[in-house]
Amino acid sequence: MKKIHFSFILIAALSFLCLPAVMFGQGSLSNPLGTQGASTFVTISLSPTNPGPNTDVTATVSSFQTNVDTTNIAWYLNGQKKLTGIGKKNFTFKTGNIGELVTIEVALDTEAYGTITKELTILPNTLEILWESDTYVPPFYKGKALPSSQSSVRVIALPRFVNQNKLINTNNIVYTWKKGYFKDQNSSGFGKNVFVYKTGYTFNNDEITISATTEDKSVSITKKVPIHVYEPKIVLFENKPIEGIRYENALMDTFNYIENEVTVHAVPFFFSLSGLNDNSASFVWKLDGKNLETNPENKSEFTLKKPEKGSGQYQLRLDINNLGYDLQTGSKKLTLVYDNQSQ
């Protein structure tokens, strides 16, 4: 008897612990509890847990009272029976447009308790988080500028909340921003959907948490986004006199140059620079260990003339140090090979 009693308490405790995952883990769910006492032992979980509009969702029913694999289960979507059968514990449906309420109901025919029902309503509202950093990428670059140590990052909240069939203006939402565990008081508040911060150390993740809530608190979603801090890097390209910079093909370890001169163009990927000639960065070019003088108005480039005779190679090295950003440094080496004999 004691054993049975203990089991019952354990089951009840576990059920109780699981319920908040359904109730509160999904900002847009409401009243997941059924009205019947027995239905408190039936749970419906959703995948994805916080479905947006026009999203395929799989609902799964589980119960500690009855074996759902051998029970006759019926699923209703907005009051209409959509699926029925023994062991039909999964049901896939699609949410409607934003703000369109979806009601799903599941009915389990059990021998011990009769029909147990459970209802769940879903109001698809969304909160997307996008972010961008102030680091350098070359013109026409189709990829993302990644944050490096001490760079600035802007995190932007894009909520799509509907209340009483009206899309709520993003300026009429209250935002609470946290970096790590700490709330940023100045950045939080009414209509403040952009959060700017400085990144930490390289290879770490900055965890940003945003809560967006309507004024009447009828809709509220919280999301976390990890933002990784990358290492800046230098990539070298050939700047051809007529064609321009060949961003399509980087110069890797060795470059054979056949023209009379070659211009090497350096791209300081992911350094916090507004432009290549931003004075906060020092570009130090070295050829075979000796410092080279470059045009201060065009410090990202170096032109090397080819000797008129013979063959050989040069070791080119570039060091970039972004002043004021201790960890934004990088270096790159390139072997330039020429051969007059083979031409």
Binding site: G52, P139, G143, I242, E243, A250, F269
Partner: protein, 442 residues
């Protein structure tokens, strides 16, 4: 051993020796060519791809030999009727190309392209491979070119020396007469701009980040940034090529958008991709200003919407590689495509049912799409066709059988009648054409 057996043995030895010598000969010939691939020593043995002596200039003043003859397959051979027969894989021009556009004229396929070095615009007919110059040199070091208005306008994009600010100039090519619809018009002939006739045009705003020409080529959706980093705003505008007018339609506090589709009323905006960063694709309704997510939270995602925008070919980055999928908006369903490539290396057929993709072979391990965007990794591609309903794939052709050059294909473009597939080789920006009618299975 009988005499007969002895003859058979000697005969076999002679045949094997001759075969060996022949193979050595081909290998030595191929090895002498600098910068070529060595995996296919018999490449020159094929009837395609070897240059003839086709002269491509015409008698008009502005005509230049834009269509080059190279060892890799531009030149023609003559058939029994004395007509030029061009290889199925052709290097239209070895000059670096900034952009291209294909159209039909009098029922024949043409390609129009912008030269990077001069900004000159050429058109080349696929039937005779003659190149006509349509504009004069006014802008050098062009990085990107977008054709609009049925090929009568082109946006040339470049940066000034020692600057990162992108300038966009809309070049008006209407002085060069051509018929750009797919209907037959025997009376229309192409003429070329004379050296004295400076092409007209206009500058768009400075600093336009990215742009996309509409499906019908009448409009252009472009994005630019305003404000300091902390208060940055992305402004999206539409430029009407015919009305020559610009209107602002989009404002966003996020500015790393890449327009991947535009049809006049809807723009699909993708967040710029990096391997480990979740990517999103949004649909922006120009009329209502509504911005709705289509796909989200996909690492390193890049996208290519179908012409009717109902299906989205998209890539997902995983450990050193890529997986490819097609999302069907109508059915909210996703199918896998068993190819490793980026959507930027693909083109949809007009029926929205199939896709041609350039597929790297082999596919090197790397950080995608970053490494390819940064020019750190280059590919050598084969062409495959994808059934967008089932996800089934079929190999169309391997350029290795036709050329010794390695082709990293971008800007894939189908001609209106889908008889030619054009692409730019990212390795040197040369422009190529593949004859899909005669070349499939090559």
């Amino acid at each position: 051993m009988t005499k007969k057996q002895l003859y058979i043995v000697v005969g076999m030895i002679v045949i094997i020796a001759l075969g060996f010598l022949l193979a050595l000969f081909f290998i030595s010939q191929q090895g002498s060519k600098e910068g070529t691939e060595t995996s296919n020593p018999f490449a020159n043995f094929f009837p395609f791809g070897k240059s003839g002596t086709s002269e491509t200039t015409t008698g008009t003043g502005g005509t230049e030999p834009g269509a080059t003859n190279t060892e890799t397959g531009t030149g023609s051979q003559t058939n029994n009727n004395g007509e030029n027969v061009f290889p199925v894989l052709r290097e239209v021009t070895e000059k670096p190309t900034a952009g291209l556009f294909s159209y039909n004229k009098t029922g024949k396929t043409y390609v129009e392209y912008a030269e990077k070095e001069t900004g000159n615009i050429y058109e080349v007919g696929m039937e005779d491979m003659r190149a006509n110059r349509l504009s004069n040199s006014i802008i050098t070091r062009v990085s990107e070119a977008f054709f609009g208005n049925g090929g009568k306008s082109v946006v040339l994009r470049y940066v000034k020396t020692n600057s990162d600010i992108i300038t966009s100039f809309v070049l008006d090519l209407t002085k060069s007469t051509r018929e750009t619809s797919s209907t037959y018009n025997a009376t229309t002939t192409a003429t070329t701009a004379t050296d004295n006739a400076l092409p007209s045009g206009k500058f768009l705003s400075q600093g336009i980040q990215d742009m996309k020409v509409s499906k019908d080529s009448n409009g252009l959706f472009y994005l630019m940034r305003t404000g300091d980093f902390n208060d940055r705003i992305s402004v999206g505008s539409i430029f009407d090529f015919q009305k020559n007018k610009t209107s602002e339609v989009f404002l966003s506090p996020f500015s790393e958008w890449l327009p991947v589709y535009f049809d006049g009323s809807t723009a699909l905006l993708q967040t710029k991709a990096s391997q480990n960063v979740p990517g999103f694709l949004y649909s922006f309704n120009i009329k209502t200003g509504d911005l709705q997510k289509i796909i989200g939270d996909v690492s390193g995602m890049t996208t290519l919407p179908s012409p009717d925008k109902q299906k989205i070919l998209y890539s997902k980055s995983n450990r050193g590689g890529i997986t490819l999928q097609i999302y069907n908006q109508k059915e909210s369903s996703t199918i896998d495509v068993s190819l490793q490539t980026l959507p930027e290396k693909c083109v949809w057929k007009n029926d929205n049912l199939s896709i041609y993709c350039a597929v790297p072979n082999p596919f090197p391990n790397g950080e995608y799409p970053d490494s390819w965007y940064q020019g750190i990794i280059s590919f050598s591609d084969d062409i495959w066709k994808v059934d967008a309903v089932t996800g089934k794939t079929v190999s169309i052709f391997s350029p290795r059988s036709l050329t010794l050059k390695l082709l990293d294909m971008t800007n894939l473009t189908l001609s209106p009648s889908e008889d030619f597939l054009f692409f730019i080789n990212k390795r040197n920006s040369s422009l190529w054409a593949f004859d899909l009618i005669n070349g499939v299975g090559a």
